[in-house]
């Protein structure tokens, strides 16, 4: 019996899976099952796995079993070599013990045995799991936007003033969500519209709440910068939203996605700050509290009048410095002709 067992050793070894991965997201593009080694990979048709990659040699790679039973991949002397994971230098031979990814030419391979353990199943959410919360958030966004419009309504109330912005907001949300769904569908096969919708809804609600608080807080605390800098927070929210969308599209390459989101945020803030400062210097618009609130919302105690004028004196030094500096560029068009 013992001898027989030794002779049938290959049968007892677990099956070997060779997976060809997509180049971009390393999803499995093709998967081959083998029970025996050696397995050869190359462009020639006498290989076990044939890849149509011009950068792959006719006989590029061979997978064999080492003395201790481990699988070993060896380069068969190809021009472009064998690269393991993200290594920068080719290896002639590698032991496949930790689910390495092998790059030959432009093709990425992964070798796993039947013994490979898979993670536990994720629970399947039936129906429309994201929709109720997403809709709740959107209702919140609309309610806040409507409230804001209503509270700043000083003329005859007209329904159209509410409908137009709300309609624009709706269209923007739909278009935005759809674009991300289409992208996700392209890369993963599932649109995941509900999840994308939820991301937008949460992001918008968060920003709506923040901007209202900032507006009221700027008045309450007499801190103008709070209201005037809410665009910075808006871009941060947008960065967060974009990052979340990217994660839904694909969970891989998180650091890259963080960087993309950060670049977006930084570029956005820089652009808007520049625009604001240029506008201010062109039209001489000072940064002031743009909206007063009912007196009851004031939290800080008022300054003594004499202290206010002492602070006003401090403005003088800035002006005296500014007057000696040359004005940059010209004013708004036709400015010099003002009479």
């Amino acid at each position: 019996m013992g001898e027989v067992m030794i002779q049938t050793t290959p049968v007892a070894e677990p099956a070997i899976w060779v997976e060809v991965l997509s180049r971009l997201h390393h999803d499995v593009a093709a998967r081959y099952r083998f029970v025996d080694v050696p397995i050869t990979v190359g462009r020639a048709y006498d290989n076990d796995v044939v890849v149509d990659d011009p950068h792959v040699a006719a006989h590029h790679l061979r997978i064999t079993r080492g003395e201790n039973g481990n699988l070993i991949a060896e380069d068969l002397g190809s021009l472009n070599g064998l690269y393991v994971d993200r290594a920068r230098k080719p290896t002639p031979e590698v032991t496949l013990d930790a689910g390495h990814e092998l790059s030959i030419g432009g093709t990425v391979l992964r070798v796993r045995t039947a013994a490979h353990e898979v993670p536990a199943e994720t629970p399947m959410l039936r129906g429309l799991p994201y929709w109720p919360s997403a809709i709740l958030c959107i209702v919140g966004v609309f309610a806040l936007a409507g409230l804001d419009l209503w509270l700043s309504e000083t003329q005859e109330p007209k329904a159209i003033r509410y409908f137009t912005p709300l309609l624009i907001l709706t269209v923007a949300i739909v278009v935005w969500t759809t674009v991300w769904s289409v992208l996700t569908r392209v890369f993963t096969g599932r649109p995941r519209f509900g999840l994308h919708f939820l991301i937008v809804a949460i992001g918008l609600l968060g920003y709506s709440i923040y901007s209202q608080l900032a507006e009221v807080g700027a008045f309450a605390m007499s801190w103008t910068a709070l209201a005037n800098s809410s665009y910075v927070v808006a871009w941060l929210f947008l960065g967060g939203i974009v990052f979340s969308h990217l994660l839904v599209v694909n969970r891989a390459r998180r650091p890259l996605k963080v960087i993309v989101a950060l670049i977006l945020v930084a570029a956005g803030i820089a652009m808007q700050s520049l625009k604001q400062s240029e506008y201010r210097s062109t039209y001489g618009q000072p940064a002031l509290l743009s909206r007063l609130e009912p007196p009851a919302l004031r939290l800080v105690s008022p300054q003594q009048e004499s202290a206010f004028f002492t602070d006003s004196e401090a403005v003088r030094a800035k002006l005296d410095k500014a007057r000696t500096e040359e004005p940059t560029g010209g004013g708004p068009p036709g400015d010099d002709d003002d009479e």
Binding site: L151, L292, D335, E339
Partner: protein, 501 residues
């Protein structure tokens, strides 16, 4: 409301001031400039025989104009007099013109590089050695940019030459210039006018070169000093036109009673003269003092502005404030006589406003012309009592915000002349020592003049913060003020804002 300065380049001034006439006058200007050149070329042969321009420019050109030009120009047909003309009046004007004419000047500001005139005005000789009086605004371009412009005169006999700028007085809009020559014909000041004692109703004759058409004489009436003007101005009822600035207004005896300076655009024949006493004072100064240093004209203007605003704000302080009651509040208004006040309400607007706003605005009549894009010297007090009829407290606060936010934009932004505004805002309360008064939101905004050290445009706006649906919005704006004077007046202003007793 707007007093037009008169030395602007003809085309521009015409477009601005005389909109309905723009086309016809523009044609006239073109013809007139052609006429001027012919006048110059013939001038050398027959200097004294220059006929004074009478009516249409085509009529003056001397050369037979093509008949087609007639309808465009539409010269005024001589009207049959209703009454036989009083022979001595017209004779007086004739003889006055004949006597004064040799002393008149047209003063041109030329662009140095192009050698063409960019603006024109008038002037008159006051001494045999070539000293002449004109308006500061006639020579302001040259005074501020002596490298870009130069000054030239043209006399009625056709002679021309360079002018030297000797002295300026920006507050009274007078300048003294000098041309080379000796034993020149000149005008003298009217002794009564020098003592500011001219009789109201006295007939005056304003002379100058309107719209570059040629030297003219205009009959009008002396109507005393303008009551609400801080800078003394004579009210002259007569037609002064662009280009006549700096020309003399003389009495029947041919003595100078004033200098043409401005007119109101919203009235008819409402014109202003600089009192002869101011011109005479500068003339006396120019005779003894060293001439203006052209490299430092801005410093001189700066000095004059500092002195002027010192006197103005001192006088304003002396006059004090009187309180007006607006709803539950008490607001200060200047007791000085040189403020022009207007009230406005939105109560009669349609659709019915959801918050009622009653405002009063008081402007000091103390504007100073420094350059085309620098007009300074004014103070403005503005109060608005606002109450909600239909707005909730948030909406009411939003309504009031539109008046609060406007505090920064003191004037259209010209960064060539002014720095960016710098502001300071906070909630304020009157010092504990003086009891009572509402908490207010206040914003202080100031800009500095780039050309003049120590001169600022300042505005302070306050909004009361003691009621949900009622507020007093107040603003004090000061142009061309020193920082200390601005702070002092603003502080006084804020202390006067209180609850009505």
């Amino acid at each position: 409301m707007r007093a037009g300065a008169f030395a602007r380049s003809a085309g521009r001034a015409v477009a601005q001031i005389f909109c309905p006439l723009a086309f016809g006058t523009l044609v006239a200007t073109v013809i007139a400039s052609a006429q001027t050149t012919t006048a110059q070329s013939t001038a050398a042969q027959t200097p004294p025989a220059q006929t004074p321009p009478a009516q249409g420019a085509t009529a003056q050109s001397g050369s037979p104009a093509p008949p087609a030009a007639q309808p465009i120009q539409a010269p005024v047909p001589p009207e049959p007099p209703l009454m036989p003309p009083t022979p001595n009046v017209s004779a007086a004007a004739e003889s006055i013109y004949a006597t004064a004419r040799p002393g008149l000047l047209q003063i041109r500001t030329l662009v140095e590089a192009a050698g063409r005139q960019s603006s024109i005005g008038s002037g008159f000789l006051v001494s045999p050695d070539g000293l002449a009086v004109t308006n500061y605004h006639v020579v302001s371009q040259y005074a501020l940019e002596p490298k870009t412009y130069r000054l030239e005169y043209a006399r009625p006999d056709g002679s021309q030459g360079a002018l030297k700028l000797l002295a300026i007085d920006v507050a009274n809009d007078v300048a003294i210039v000098q041309l080379d020559g000796t034993e020149l014909p000149h005008l003298e000041f009217d002794p009564a006018a020098l003592e500011d004692k001219s009789p109201r109703g006295e007939r005056l004759y304003a002379m100058g070169n309107p719209l570059d058409l040629g030297f003219t004489i205009v009959e009008g009436t002396y109507n005393g000093f303008v009551e609400k003007s801080y800078n003394p101005r004579v009210h002259f009822t007569g037609a002064i036109n662009p280009g006549m600035s700096g020309g003399p207004a003389v009495t029947a005896a041919g003595k100078v009673a004033g200098i043409n300076v401005a007119k109101r655009l919203d009235g008819e024949l409402v014109s202003f003269l600089v009192p002869a006493s101011k011109a005479s004072a500068l003339f006396e100064r120019a005779k003894t003092e060293p001439p203006l240093d052209l490299a430092h004209v801005r410093d001189e203007i700066d000095r004059q502005l500092i002195t002027w605003q010192g006197a103005f704000y001192h006088a304003l302080g002396e006059q004090g404030f009187k309180d007006t009651t607006l709803g539950p509040y008490q607001a200060p208004e200047s007791a000085a006589p040189w403020f022009n006040c207007w009230a406005r309400t939105n109560a009669d607007e349609t659709p019915r406003p959801r918050a009622l706003l009653d405002s009063t605005s008081c402007n000091s009549q103390s504007s100073l012309y420094i350059a085309e894009d620098i007009e300074t010297g004014r103070a403005e007090l503005w109060h608005a009592y606002v109450r909600s009829t239909d707005l909730n407290p948030f909406q009411f606060a939003a309504f009031v915000s539109t008046y609060y936010g406007g505090a920064g934009s003191i004037r259209p932004w010209s960064r060539k002349r002014l720095t960016q505004p710098e502001c300071h805002e906070d909630f304020i309360q009157r010092n504990e020592s003086d009891k009572g008064g509402p908490v207010m939101r206040a914003v202080w905004c100031a800009r500095a003049y780039r050309d003049f050290a120590g001169i600022y445009d300042v505005a302070i706006t306050t909004v009361t913060q003691d009621r949900d649906k009622e507020a007093l919005v107040s603003r004090l704006a000061m142009k061309g003020v020193s920082y200390d004077n601005a702070v002092a007046l603003a502080q006084r202003f804020v202390r006067e804002l209180a609850w009505a007793k």
